[in-house]
Amino acid sequence: MKRLARVLALGASALLAVSAYAQTPRSGGELVFPVPSEPPSYDGHREETFGLIHPIAPFYNTLLRVDPNDKTGTKPAPSLAESWTVSADGKTYTFKIRRGVKFHDGSEMTSKDVKASYDHIVFPPAGVGSSRKGQYSDVESIDAPDPTTIVFKLKHTSGSFIASLLSPYNFIYKADILAKDPHWYEKNIMGTGPFTFVEHVKGSHVVGKKNPNYWDKGKPYLDGFRAIFMRDSAAQVAAVRGERAQIQFRGFTPKDRDNLKAALGDKITVQESPWDCVLMVGINHKLKPFDDPRVRRALTLALDRYEGSKALSQIAIVKEVAGVQVPGTPFATPPEELAKVAGYWHDIEKSRAEAKRLLKEAGVPEGFSFTFTNRGTPMPYEPLAVWLIDSWRKIGLNVTQKVVESAAYFPTIRKGDQQVHMDFQCGYIVEPDLDTYKFLSASRNPANYGFYEDPVLDALYDKQSQASNVEERKKIIREFEKRVLDEQAHYLMTLQWHRIIPHSSKLHGWTITPSHYLNNTLDTVWLSQ
């Protein structure tokens, strides 16, 4: 009898487990999430902050999107475009636009709207600000020969054009509205997305509700969402902990995750991923002694990245030791090979001894002091600075930190008076063309705050961009990496950021990617009871 009961119990729990695993999305519920910063306007073509994406992206669709179930955040998937073809010469991209998509005001979306939106981005009219215009300098023309077709003609072939169309900021707007007033979308919201705009109370929240006429039948599952603006990270954690919010889409610190896990146990599910964000040390090649590659190499050799990774991953949002690509992505250098690059040697004593030797050779005296200019954003700029300064102390360098307020930071760096500074890069998609553009010579890249010219590096960049196959491209990228991080030590990579999203276990249908700009349309998200 007892045995039967046990078997029955086992069978019942097995059934439950199976049904839980094969859960079908449930419709209903309101998703609540805190957003750390409030967008200054609603125009995705103009803004660059995730503070716009998190509350506003659900109201819009883009032409293409990154597959929401792809953990690497690199696979293109159809959205308003059903499919596309590339011409034989690689310079013409033709997209087939979906039929039956309606804007929230009831009108039909056609290729005319796509063309108008992309014109707004790539060829903005006078007086209109488009942040990504420079990214599409390769585009020669955009045409809409019929209501379901849109054609992009490029000036030359590009391996990353599709990736550039995956930008989550490229909202598709209504052509008629743009024609009447190209600034209309800065203050108003009207798109084709899974949610319609309800209200935005300044300084407080944004509310959206389910679009009943959404083109992707059955979606969205949620009845609506509420994005609440909260500056303070402790308050955001408290919101999730107090179960007043289900998720925060940017990322929490390792300690926050541990606290949430300890407090809520199984009610919290944690998703983690390397982040397509990294801080690097920029060195001003115009100032002595930093024009000497030996000095720059000494700076990178002083850093014990492996110890740093172990220690700092406990207190900051950094973790992986990385080269120029996010670890684990197709073009990233495997760890064994990376260990041969200067600054990545496993023997730190040998590394620091070499650093000291190089400094001596370059004529830098013991106790030499310089200023490290850092940005006034606490995480992870501050802990990384403490790590860097302590490391440089160990090779006899005396470094003081000068912190510049976030808003004034890049204008200050642009002036070029700083000696060594903290630079930063965040991408929406892992793609070598986009990630390594930063290191190109100053004459080509205005955001090169090391102010150096390196034609060899530029040539390698162009070679990898036009490489015919993946293996060859990988090889060239390795060469590029060796030159920029080792031989010339133009920039020093610190540690790759690490994205940690602890969320309510009731939340399903959301997969983490390396980018906090992706997967925010919320159409696949659903809440269980």
């Binding site: 300690k255 220690a311 207190i315 802990p383 600075a385 403490v386 000068k402 307020e405």
Partner: protein, 298 residues
């Protein structure tokens, strides 16, 4: 609000070298609270002066193996997120606190007093204009003025001192001015003017010393306020920067995050700040009582 001549006489009388020990003894007996405050101030000053000798570790040395350790035999107050000894950093932090506090208080009271006395002395239009200008600065919230100065000058200890001193000047000027107004009518000032002494001499030699009581009280009050303001600015990320040891700085970042599992990182620097400001305020409070004859016990 005027410093009565009676009190001034007392003050000048006790400046004779032979009497200081008995004055201190009298002060301790009559005003135990003030004495406690004074002791705290002396302790803080001693810590700052002897930091190099008494601190067990290097305040800037990271020790990742020991990060986030609880208080114990090796580290009496525990370690922070980088393995740095909390006790050492608190000891060295007293240096930053006193430097910023003294610097800001000194600059604030000096400029404030000069403006206040000068304004009272010259009177008339000069006084009116100065009053209005001071009123303008008065109408700004303290922290906003400090934020603005930091935004212009940048962060770092020197700029923080200036940022904190700026809102103190009008406050000091106002208080000193009302005391100075009373002093201006005193016979010895008239006599000095009659004797033909220059403005500068009269202000510096005759008026200023006689408004010392309120100035001293302000200076001590400002010291406490300065330490607090520095802590607030550092907490906001706008004050002294890492890796310098400063109490306000120690309350940022990891201290907040790890408040539950590693509370020693937040508790001790907070205590240090509270204790130091408490000491200065206690002392200043008793000083105020001592120098205001109307409040003497029967």
């Amino acid at each position: 609000m005027s410093a009565a001549p009676h009190a001034i006489e007392e003050l000048t009388r006790t400046q004779e070298p032979a009497g200081w020990r008995s004055t201190v003894g009298q002060f301790v007996r009559q005003r135990p609270l003030g004495a406690i405050g004074g002791a705290i101030i002396v302790l803080t000053a001693l810590l700052a002066a002897t930091a190099g000798w008494i601190a067990p570790y290097d305040p800037l040395a990271n020790d990742y193996a020991a990060m986030l350790s609880a208080p114990g035999p090796g580290h009496w107050l525990g370690t922070d997120a980088f393995g740095r000894d909390v006790l050492t950093r608190i000891i060295y932090g007293s240096r930053t606190a006193l430097t910023v506090g003294l610097g800001a208080s000194f600059i604030g009271t000096t400029f404030g007093s000069l403006i206040g006395v000068g304004s009272a002395y010259f009177g008339g239009r000069v006084d009116l204009v100065t009053q209005r200008v001071m009123d303008v600065f008065f109408a700004f919230p303290v922290i906003i003025l400090a934020l603005a100065v930091v935004a212009i000058l940048g962060t770092g200890a020197g700029n923080v001192i200036l940022a904190i001193a700026t809102p103190m000047v009008p406050r000091c000027a106002r208080v000193v001015r009302s005391s100075a107004l009373a002093v201006r009518e005193m016979p010895y000032v008239d006599a000095a003017r009659a004797a033909g002494f220059g403005h500068r001499r009269i202000i510096l030699r005759h008026m200023l010393p006689n408004v010392m009581a309120p100035i001293l009280i302000m200076a001590t009050a400002f010291l406490g306020e300065a330490i607090l303001l520095e802590a607030s600015l550092s907490f906001l990320g706008l004050g002294v920067q890492e890796p310098t040891a400063a109490w306000g700085l120690m309350l940022r970042g990891a201290a907040v995050e790890f408040a539950e599992s590693a509370p020693w990182m937040a508790i001790f620097p907070g205590l240090a700040i509270s204790l130091a400001v408490f000491g200065f305020n206690l002392f200043g409070d008793s000083l105020r009582d001592a120098l205001d004859p109307r409040l003497r016990t029967q």
